[in-house]
């Protein structure tokens, strides 16, 4: 609200003498002067901004970063290489040593000269950084006397031996190169003998070994020296030559041979892969058997049923041994750190103890300990005091650490575990349950019934798993036995494969006979079919 408005409201006469405030505002809003343009010219353009092209805007750049340090000077400096003995001096770029923190005023004069002087002695000390890579090859050296005494060979003159040793030194014991460049010009009228790589190696190794033995008597050699010595003396040129000949033959194999080898290799790989999955399954099984199933009823049930399932398998004994060993191991561990075993791995024998230990810490009762194995029950809290164990059972009062969200039918817990992912597995589960005479529909899904059922189902799962492995093991054994038979017979390849195929068929047949084993057997028979095909093609 301006003063004028005030006056209007109050009915005061307007102040004509005052300059209209508008004008003043105008001056305030005036366009700022363009840079690089005369005031008069700028005024000509009035209020409107001139077209962009007329304004020469000075672009604003980011500010230069402020560096604390000075730019390090580099110099084209001469250097020598210690690996050379001719003092060749070449130049390269290297960093000037940064000037020592000198008084600021001195930098301009001394800063230039001083570091160069500083650096020179240091450079000499350090040497050329790549000189250390100049590693000469060590070759045996001998005096003429030693040669005459020990190194004589009717096939070699001293000159030729010397020549060989220089070549070996020059080419860093790369025998292929030494052989390639070997071109001894005999000084006598005798023509130079043609030398193979094995000839050269044999001569060189002999000389090396004798020189070594001369310098250090065998009795006073260190371990590594002696092993070098025995290595040098054990070179066998004849064997080496025949090995080379074999290698050469290998090089000239035909495509068909190479193909055969690669199919055999892939076959082998497949077998190995199968082996490793089998191993993994076994390990998995062992782990499963370790799982804490504390209640004695399930354990005995498992033992009973499982025992029946395993009665024919030799693997059971092995499994048992392994379990025993593991158990012992864990006991040991418990001795070292009592009560520290991770809950998931607590073996059956220990479970109750550990649980009891924990419960006693939580000041709970023995009933909660009985509920504990399922892992779902809680540490008994103070609210528990009101109900006696009996009445809490009666009124189905349970305690949970955490409740899962949503509502569930208790009966779901009885029906869901019966259905597995695959139909075959479901079938198998049903068969086991039928065998155990568990009815399809269980009457009252109380907490305890559900718990018992879950425990039972865990047992069933283990049982099925064990059966599966057992069957695999059996077929494996049969294959092995068949192989053994063939080997003892010492028959040809064709026969072997026939038997192999027979075995496969066997397994398949049996698999179909037995309930629910078809899948595993077919896995084996696939391999059989493959090998079958191969023999045909």
């Amino acid at each position: 609200m301006s003063a004028q408005d005030m006056r209007d409201v109050l009915g005061l006469p307007g102040d004509g003498a005052r300059p209209p405030p508008l004008k003043k505002q105008k001056t305030v809003e005036k366009r700022p002067l363009e840079k690089g343009m005369a005031r008069e010219v700028s005024a000509l353009m009035g209020e409107r901004a001139p077209p962009l092209s007329m304004i020469q805007v000075q672009p604003k750049y980011k500010q230069r970063p402020k560096r604390q340090h000075k730019v390090t000077p580099w110099e084209w400096a001469p250097f020598k290489n210690q690996a050379r003995d001719d003092g060749l001096t070449l130049h390269h770029w290297q960093r000037k040593q940064p000037p020592k923190p000198a008084p600021v005023t001195d930098v301009s004069q001394d800063g230039e000269a001083a570091p160069v002087e500083d650096q020179k002695p240091e450079q000499k000390e350090k040497g050329y950084q790549f000189a250390k890579f100049n590693v000469p090859v060590e070759v045996p050296t001998y005096t003429p006397e030693l040669y005459d005494a020990q190194l004589q060979d009717p096939d070699w003159t001293k000159e030729e031996t010397d020549y060989l040793i220089t070549l070996v030194k020059d080419f860093g014991q790369k025998w292929a190169v030494v052989t390639d460049r070997y071109d001894y010009q005999s000084t006598t009228e005798q023509p130079a003998k043609p030398r193979t790589m094995e000839d050269l190696k044999a001569r060189y190794y002999t000389v090396s070994a004798r020189v070594l033995a001369h310098n250090i008597p065998i009795s006073s050699m260190t371990g590594s020296q002696y092993s070098l010595y025995s290595l040098l003396t054990s070179f066998n040129p004849v064997q080496e030559t025949s090995r080379k000949r074999l290698a050469e033959g290998h090089l000239h194999r035909t495509q068909a041979e190479v193909d055969e080898e690669s199919t055999l290799l892939s076959e082998l790989q497949r077998i190995m892969a199968y082996q490793s999955t089998l191993e993994a399954e076994r390990a998995d099984l062992r782990h499963r058997l370790d799982y804490p199933i504390a209640t004695s009823s399930t354990a005995t049930g498992l033992a009973g049923v499982g025992g029946a399932g395993y009665s024919t398998s030799a693997a059971l004994a092995q499994l048992f041994q392994q379990l025993l060993a593991q158990d012992r191991l864990k006991k040991d561990r418990r001795l070292k750190a009592p009560g520290e075993g991770p809950a998931g791995q607590t073996p059956g024998g220990q479970a109750s103890g550990a649980a009891g230990h924990r419960d006693s810490l939580a000041a709970g009762s023995s009933t909660s300990a009985r509920k504990a194995p399922g892992g779902r029950d809680s540490i008994s809290g103070p609210s528990d005091r009101a109900l006696s164990p009996r009445s809490s059972n009666r009124y189905f009062v349970t305690h949970h650490d955490r409740l899962s969200a949503g509502v569930q039918f208790a009966s779901d817990k009885l029906s869901k575990p019966r259905v597995a992912k695959s139909a075959i597995q479901t079938e198998r589960i049903a068969a086991v349950l039928q065998h155990l005479q568990i009815p399809e529909v269980i009457g009252l899904p109380t907490q305890r019934v559900v718990e018992e059922f879950e425990r039972l189902m865990a047992g069933v799962g283990t049982l099925l798993e064990l059966r599966k492995v057992a069957e695999k093991e059996e077929s494996e054994i049969r294959v092995r036995e068949a192989e053994k038979g063939i080997r003892s017979e010492g028959e040809g390849k064709v026969k072997k494969e026939e038997v192999e195929v027979e075995v496969d068929v066997d397994v398949e047949g049996e698999g179909e006979g037995e309930r629910g084993t078809k899948r595993d057997a077919s896995h084996v028979s696939e391999g059989g079919e493959e090998s079958n095909k191969r023999t045909k093609t």
Partner: protein
């Protein structure tokens, strides 16, 4: 990266000493500074000799002078058909030109060497130390160590001569020579390799073990770039109607014409036409562009005339005929599509039966084809190195740029050696293959560990040029 932090030298083991690298080939001479990734200076190995003059200083070097259609200019090449230097006077001038024209700046030939002040000893008798220094600097490369490449079969005389030129005429402080095959293998990072180098005059196969050439295995033949050119010429003349090969300098202007129709162009009129050798050089440029854009190798498996693997009763050539042909236009506008022909002209590198021949162009020797040379090279080396070499086949040289050549070599060698794995390594970059030997030299000469390999001026003075045999053993 902060520029004030020095690069960790150990990281790449480099130490740049301003060395020069010279890769003189029979087609082009490549020169540049060690440590760079392409040669700065690529100069044709051909030179022009104006007939009017007999002084050597009148020789014409470099692209610009060479491709100018002067009357009476002879075009020559100082290399023999085996890619070794024949004419040393010109070769050294040409090399010096390739270095000084782009790299070290044009400095006049030192007064002591240009022939005008021959009694140079007189000056030395003054015993003026400062004078010596000045004279040294006058030499064109007094500050640059020099690495020169050479073919694996370079005779000892030629090596010594090269060193003399470098030391005496150019005044290099240090010198080294390496075989092209070895250098090309270094460029692809393989100290053990079987290098197939297809140049202009020669194709060579060089087995390498740990950076050393296995000399007994080295193979060479003339079935290389120039051979392909002559096959193309033959193919052109054998086609109906035959293909007119008109180089660029002949054409003043041209009009587009239909495929196969005779050209509609106005030609340059010369009072005295340029020499035959000049025309040949210019034709070669057209042929090179034909090689670059049209020529292709049958990629295998099998030979071009071999039975087709897909369709029984047919050859691979029949399969090729069904592919769409490629068009090529001559400088005068004449154009045509090429089908089987573009495969035919390189088949001679792989099978003598596939090559075109007539009275002047005999069928090549079977042992000069690439597969035969590889076989010969492998047979000459130790059994245990063979699989290593086959696993590291390196293709290099300008001629190896022909399309699908690497595939064909792979197929041929895999068929010959089914057992050890054959792997042909090629870089996808054309420059890397064209300048393979130069790049390898560039890598080598910029390595810090290479420093001890140089032959210094002092060593040269002590032992003479014979030292090159002792020290450059690669």
């Amino acid at each position: 990266m902060n520029s004030s932090v020095p690069p960790a030298a150990q990281e790449y083991a480099g130490d740049e000493i301003n060395a020069l690298v010279l890769d003189p080939g029979s087609n082009t001479i490549r020169a540049g500074f060690a440590g760079e990734d392409t040669p700065k200076s690529v100069v044709p190995s051909f030179y022009g000799v104006p007939q009017s003059s007999d002084a050597q200083s009148q020789y014409l070097f470099g692209e610009n002078a060479l491709h100018n259609p002067l009357t009476h200019m002879d075009v020559r090449n100082p290399y023999s058909s085996d890619s070794v230097v024949e004419d040393w006077d010109v070769a050294s001038k040409l090399w010096e030109y390739s270095i000084t024209s782009r790299l070290t700046g044009t400095r006049p030939t030192p007064a002591a060497k240009n022939g005008l002040n021959d009694p140079a000893e007189v000056k030395d008798e003054d015993g003026d130390m400062a004078m010596e220094g000045v004279e040294e600097l006058e030499k064109p490369m007094a500050e640059n160590p020099l690495l020169v490449s050479e073919p694996a079969w370079n005779p000892q005389k030629a090596r010594e001569k090269t060193m003399e030129i470098a030391m005496e005429d150019w005044g290099v402080p240090a010198f080294w020579m390496g075989k092209t095959g070895m250098l090309a293998a270094f460029a692809s990072g393989k100290p053990t390799a079987l290098v197939i180098d297809i140049g202009a005059n020669t194709t060579s196969v060089t087995p390498l073990l740990d950076g050393f050439v296995l000399r007994k295995g080295v193979q060479k033949s003339n079935l290389a770039g120039n051979y392909i050119s002559s096959q193309i010429r033959l193919q052109f003349s054998q086609m109906t109607p035959s293909v007119p090969l008109v180089p660029h300098y002949m054409v003043k202007s041209k009009q587009p014409v239909d495929a196969g129709a005779s050209s509609n162009a106005t030609y340059m009129q010369f009072a005295t036409p340029p020499t035959e050798s000049y025309r040949k050089l210019e034709e070669e440029r057209v042929l090179t562009s034909f090689k670059e854009s049209i020529v292709q190798v049958w990629p295998g498996p099998g030979k071009l005339d071999g039975a087709s693997g897909q369709i029984p009763g047919q050859t691979n050539a029949d399969a090729v005929k069904t592919l769409p042909p490629k068009p090529f236009e001559m400088p005068d506008g004449w154009n045509q599509v090429f089908g089987l022909e573009r495969f035919r002209v390189v088949e001679g590198l792989f099978s003598p039966q596939g090559a075109l021949s007539d009275a002047e162009n005999p069928v090549p020797d079977a042992k000069h084809t690439i597969p035969a040379m590889v076989q010969a090279a492998l047979n000459a080396v130790d059994v245990e190195t063979r699989p290593l070499l086959l696993n590291n086949v390196v293709l290099t040289g300008g001629g190896s740029l022909v399309e699908k050549l690497a595939e064909r070599v792979q197929a041929e060698l895999s068929a010959l050696y089914p057992n050890p794995r054959v792997r042909v390594h090629t870089t996808s970059s054309a420059t890397d293959r064209k300048y393979g030997a130069w790049i390898g030299g560039s890598v080598l000469a910029s390595l810090g560990t290479f420093h001890q390999m140089w032959i210094s001026k002092k060593e040269y003075e002590e032992h003479g040029s014979g030292i090159v045999e002792k020290r450059c053993k690669s």
